[in-house]
């Protein structure tokens, strides 16, 4: 039994197809969804998402979003969904450093700038995490 998986970002449909299982980071902790999971709606945080389909394993960096499990259809909406080869390590590290520097002065920041910096930081952390784990 396979599940129908769809991963959607505001820019594109990042994955659409069958899978055996998918592991994703929710706000409550990491969960793995297999076929015949009960209907579920949950929120996601930044981190690593992993699709397993047969012998193939596809890791992705994701950041914030929602997951809906309905029968064997899974819809994942997230801000980013990047595969390992799409991630630019240098850029991610640079972004993390920049965002961390920005957040040091958070007392003087506007709400929007703060949210922006946090979002950049979370995205770069997710990217770096996936890279570190998969490059070994």
């Amino acid at each position: 039994m396979k599940i129908n998986l769809q991963i959607i970002t505001p820019e594109k449909v990042a994955y659409k197809g069958e899978a055996d299982q998918v592991t994703l980071p929710t706000r409550e902790g990491e969960i793995t969804i297999l076929a015949n999971h009960i209907p579920l709606i949950s929120t996601m945080k930044h981190g690593e998402l992993c699709i397993k389909n047969g012998n193939e394993e596809i890791p992705m960096a994701v950041c914030n979003g929602f997951v809906e499990v309905k029968k064997n259809n899974i819809t994942i909406m997230t801000d980013i969904a990047e595969r390992v080869h799409e991630i630019d390590e240098e850029k991610a590290k640079e972004a993390r450093k920049k965002a961390e520097d920005m957040l040091k002065e958070k007392d003087r920041m506007s709400d929007v700038a703060f949210a922006d910096a946090t979002a950049i930081l979370e995205k770069s952390l997710a990217r770096i995490k996936v890279l570190k784990k998969r490059r070994k």
């Binding site: 769809q6 959607i8 970002t9 505001p10 820019e11 594109k12 449909v13 929710t26 706000r27 409550e28 009960i38 209907p39 579920l40 709606i41 949950s42 929120t43 929602f66 809906e68 309905k70 029968k71 819809t75 909406m77 801000d79 709400d111 929007v112 949210a115 922006d116 979002a119």
Partner: protein, 299 residues
């Protein structure tokens, strides 16, 4: 009768104009392709967000969240989306016409405008209360860049600065067809969700959305999911609206410029014809003068 010199000058300037419009057409065409793609790519996301909201709203009492609550409308906010630049046919004037119509209809209410694009700003500057202006939104807009707009809408709605938010924008249908769309953004109601879903589905292959009678488990809780989801939904919709408007703008501009080039070429043909006519006439006259002169000398 015009002199040949005059006509020649006209021909030259028409030629130049047609070259410029041709170039603008090319630019618009390439931008159009990109923005159309982006608008189409963003649709599944908007769709998924609405789908999840629909599932959630079945399990949660809609009165629970302020963004879902309907209240008496005293203050109305219009989000009017036009382009920064002109020369794109009737696109902007259609939007402004629609906005004017709504303002006239709702004149007993307090109306605030959020202007997106220079054309809206210029139009409403001295007429209505404009609370925010967003200009120079690029063609390669990202979701992040539209967040300030949605933030203003959500915050002011929550603080009861206005009781209803309506967006007026151009919906992209095809390269030659765009239509003015009036969409209620806030409060979010079942009906407005369903309408939006239908609208997007019209343009895409219909996917199965049989979510009836499924008991969802919510993590952490339905309320929490809702609190996260609703602002996200508004953000997505605003982003979507701007992408659609962008795609429409470039398509409209391309078509307008193509028409301009075509009519320039037509005028050019006419001018060339009358130029040759006059030239021919002149030659004929000269020849007859010469031959008359020769005839006079011989005789």
């Amino acid at each position: 009768m015009q002199s040949t010199q005059q006509i020649r000058r006209q021909i030259q300037s028409t030629k130049n104009t047609s070259q410029i419009t041709k170039a603008m057409e090319m630019v618009a065409a390439s931008k159009m392709k990109k923005s159309q793609e982006r608008a189409l790519m963003a649709r599944p996301y908007a769709m998924a967000a609405l789908g999840i909201l629909e599932s959630v709203s079945e399990s949660v009492e809609p009165k629970k969240h302020i963004l879902l609550r309907k209240r008496e409308v005293k203050n109305l906010c219009l989000l009017v989306v036009t382009s920064d630049k002109g020369l794109c046919g009737g696109l902007n004037s259609n939007i402004l016409k629609e906005a004017k119509k709504i303002i006239k209809k709702e004149k007993d209410k307090n109306i605030t405008i959020i202007a997106i694009g220079k054309k809206t700003e210029n139009y409403f500057k001295n007429k209505n209360e404009v609370c925010a202006v967003f200009n120079a939104i690029g063609d390669t807009i990202e979701l992040r860049e539209t967040l300030p707009i949605s933030k203003i809408i959500i915050e002011d709605f929550t603080n009861r600065k206005y009781d209803k938010v309506i967006a007026i924008y151009t919906n992209f249908i095809s390269t030659i067809k765009q239509e003015v769309k009036v969409k209620k953004l806030l409060p979010i109601t079942r009906r407005s969700i369903e309408e939006t879903i239908e609208e997007i589905e019209d343009k895409q292959e219909k996917e199965e959305t049989n979510s009836n009678n499924i008991e969802y488990k919510f993590e952490p809780s339905a309320e929490k999911v809702l609190c996260d989801l609703l602002p996200n939904l508004i953000e997505t919709q605003v982003y979507h609206i701007i992408l659609e408007s962008n795609a429409s703008e470039h398509s409209a501009r391309m078509v307008a410029m193509k028409n301009a080039t075509d009519s320039a070429l037509e005028i050019l043909d006419d001018l060339k014809l009358s130029y040759n006519y006059i030239r021919q006439q002149k030659i004929t006259q000269e020849i007859s003068e010469i031959s008359a002169g020769v005839a006079a000398q011989e005789g």
